[in-house]
């Protein structure tokens, strides 16, 4: 057989589209139900899941598609959130300025961290992203003018004129869902574009792609920056949701949790990351109600997911679905 670029088979593409639509429809249905039952708590919980799903989606671009295992993505989430917090503290609450500024700041942070970390591979890359993530954590901790380790309350959410008010919980929830959907469609396009194919090919065999003349490092850096910028956008939404920013947003445990969401859902599938984030957040909520020591249950669960779950939840669905 001659070597051909791997194409999606048509049934597989259709199965993926069906599952992805099912995930997004289910999320929208949950939002409608929470709204209909007038449950602000659940609406807020779902919005939180939407925001973390955006961050997990962004991380899936770096980890699942480009093969860059970043253990420092919470830093970009934090940079996005802190730009909102700090600008609001100075009375600058115009969202048209705040949001691009926050995303640009997260992208710049990703450019610096990615540029340095991409000089290495494998285990070193993981350790370095973790270390730089921690550096941003300490930076946030030492911002004594902006609350230090106590964090900073955001008194005014981002303002977008009269037609879009984020103080309405429903608006924020549906806006988050729209942004998540747009990011998903963008990344799916990216994944099947030439850019995405180069990334995935380099993940399979870096040496061959380099020999073919691709500047693999540059492709990866661009992917890392896009991933960081989208994670920063998630941070923007998170700050507007909680009306608060704190160094805890940049904790490296958050980075680990984001990785867990991506793997739980299904690495490199994009809609898997969204599914993983929702299952993660809802599971965390259920476990936290059972016991305050939910980590006692969650730690072993994570180990089991890694040991048993090849392909995550999406892989599970595919295995059930696949014709024998």
């Amino acid at each position: 057989m001659t070597a051909r670029p791997r194409q999606r088979s048509r049934p597989a593409a259709r199965a993926e589209a069906i599952l992805a639509s099912a995930v997004f429809t289910a999320i929208a249905a949950l939002l409608v139900i929470a709204d209909f039952l007038d449950q602000p708590f659940y609406l807020k919980l779902l919005t939180r899941a939407l925001v973390l799903a955006l961050a997990a989606l962004a991380l899936d671009l770096a980890v699942g598609i480009a093969g860059l295992v970043s253990l420092g993505h919470a830093a970009f989430l934090g940079v996005g959130a802190y730009v909102i917090g700090i600008s609001a503290e100075h009375g600058m609450t115009n969202g048209w300025v705040q949001w691009p500024l926050a995303v640009a700041a997260a992208a710049s942070a990703a450019l610096v961290v990615g540029g340095l970390s991409l000089r290495t591979r494998g285990v070193q890359f993981i350790m370095i992203t973790l270390a730089f993530g921690q550096m941003f954590f300490y930076l946030a901790n030492s911002l004594s003018r902006y609350g230090g380790d106590d964090g900073l309350t955001i008194w005014t959410r981002s303002q977008f004129g009269t037609w879009l008010s984020l103080s309405d919980r429903r608006t924020l929830a549906w806006l988050s869902l729209s942004i998540l959907l747009a990011a998903y469609l963008f990344l799916r396009k990216l994944r099947w574009s030439r850019f995405g194919r180069v990334l995935r090919a380099a993940k399979e065999n870096e040496r061959r792609m380099a020999a073919l003349g691709f500047a693999v490092g540059r492709f990866r850096l661009v992917a890392f920056v896009i991933s960081g910028a989208l994670t920063g956008l998630a941070g923007v939404l998170l700050a507007n949701l909680t009306e608060f920013v704190a160094p805890a947003y940049l904790s490296w445990h958050r980075s680990g949790e984001l990785l867990a969401m991506v793997v739980l859902g299904g690495l490199g599938t994009l809609h898997g990351a969204v599914l993983g984030a929702f299952v993660f957040v809802l599971l965390e909520e259920v476990l936290a109600r059972l016991t305050t020591h939910w980590a006692l249950l969650f730690g072993p669960f994570l180990v089991l997911v890694v040991l048993a779950g090849r392909g995550g939840l999406v892989g599970l669905v595919q295995r059930i679905d696949a014709p024998r």
């Binding site: 980890v63 295992v69 253990l71 340095l116 970390s117 000089r119 290495t120 494998g122 285990v123 070193q124 993981i126 350790m127 370095i128 973790l130 270390a131 730089f132 921690q134 550096m135 300490y138 930076l139 901790n141 030492s142 911002l143 004594s144 003018r145 490296w252 445990h253 680990g256 990785l259 867990a260 793997v263 690495l267 020591h293 980590a295 006692l296 969650f298 730690g299 072993p300 669960f301 994570l302 180990v303 997911v305 890694v306 040991l307």
Partner: protein, 309 residues
């Protein structure tokens, strides 16, 4: 700059560096031989500290406590291998990260349930409550000197084992080319278990020694784990010499940065600005050092020359 303060802080830096070395040495060898990333290594440091604290309070014997630290950590390390690590050796790094992350949050929470969220009491041993008078008139706590001495002796022993014994030779060979060693009939898996156990015991010993000068509380291992990563990246993955160099560099940079950076900035900046920037910069200093090393030498200061894989 006060020369006496400088001397004291230099000693503090060396003390932190040697403590870090005890944790980083085992970690770097584990990376070097099996290319495994183990986030739960910091947990072993915490387990060592807790074991020592409990034995100290129950028995009152300090020697017993310092012995319990490495022994319990050794047991925990071997259990970790049996229960989790051996299933992920052949997996990719992402699986290793997540599995050991799961272990880490589980053990942190378990410790919180068993001993409470507050720091455990860990009094200085009798006979070490005094301070040594340094030349020039400054005083220095004897316990910190004991840590320096123990760290230096262990570092020396480790190098002796690695360079002068057959087991050490095999470990070095495994770090260069594990596949070839396997071909030659050496059980690399067992060798790895030996290194993992020794690394766990060293981390546990570090935890026991650090007990009196740090807060023995849940999550104390996370901090040291990340510092050990910085050490390993700076020194060069898999290299014990690199780990020693990196440890001392990180220990000194962190300690000296925290005590002198603000004063040094005052020479260049207005005092208010220096007070604002100084502490922030000091807490980021070791990461900036790491970034500088990465720019100049991406493989670290003393990389291991590996066979092509």
């Amino acid at each position: 700059m006060d020369p006496l303060l400088l001397l004291v802080q230099l000693l503090n830096g060396v003390q932190l560096g040697l403590l870090l070395f005890l944790v980083a040495a085992g970690l770097t060898l584990v990376f070097g031989i099996l290319d495994v990333i183990n986030l739960a290594h910091g947990v072993l440091y915490m387990v060592g500290a807790y074991a020592a604290a409990v034995v100290l309070v129950r028995s009152g014997h300090f020697a017993l406590a310092v012995l319990a630290g490495p022994l319990v950590a050794l047991g925990a390390g071997l259990a970790l291998d049996r229960l989790v690590l051996r299933f992920v050796y052949d997996r990719d790094h992402l699986d290793q990260v997540l599995a050991t992350f799961g272990v880490l949050i589980f053990v942190n929470e378990l410790v919180r349930v068993l001993f409470g969220p507050a720091a455990l009491p860990f009094p200085l041993p009798a006979g070490f409550e005094w301070s040594v008078r340094l030349p020039g008139g400054a005083t220095y706590p004897a316990w910190r000197l004991a840590i320096i001495a123990a760290g230096a002796i262990l570092a020396f022993l480790l190098f002796w084992v690695l360079t002068r014994t057959r087991a050490g030779m095999l470990v070095r060979a495994a770090a260069t080319d594990p596949a070839m060693l396997e071909m030659l009939g050496v059980d690399v898996r067992r060798l790895f278990l030996l290194v993992l156990g020794a690394g766990a015991a060293l981390a546990g010993f570090a935890g026991a020694m650090a007990g009196p000068i740090v807060a023995v509380q849940p999550g104390m291992g996370d901090q040291i784990l990340i510092l050990a990563f910085v050490v390993i990246v700076t020194g060069g993955t898999g290299s014990v010499q690199g780990a020693l160099l990196g440890s001392l560099l990180v220990g000194l940079a962190d300690t000296l940065g925290r005590s002198f950076l603000t004063d040094m900035l005052r020479l260049a900046l207005p005092p208010a600005a220096a007070n604002e920037v100084g502490p922030a910069l000091a807490s980021m200093l070791i990461y900036l050092v790491m970034a500088g090393v990465l720019l100049a030498r991406p493989r670290g200061l003393m990389p291991v020359r590996r066979a092509a894989r």
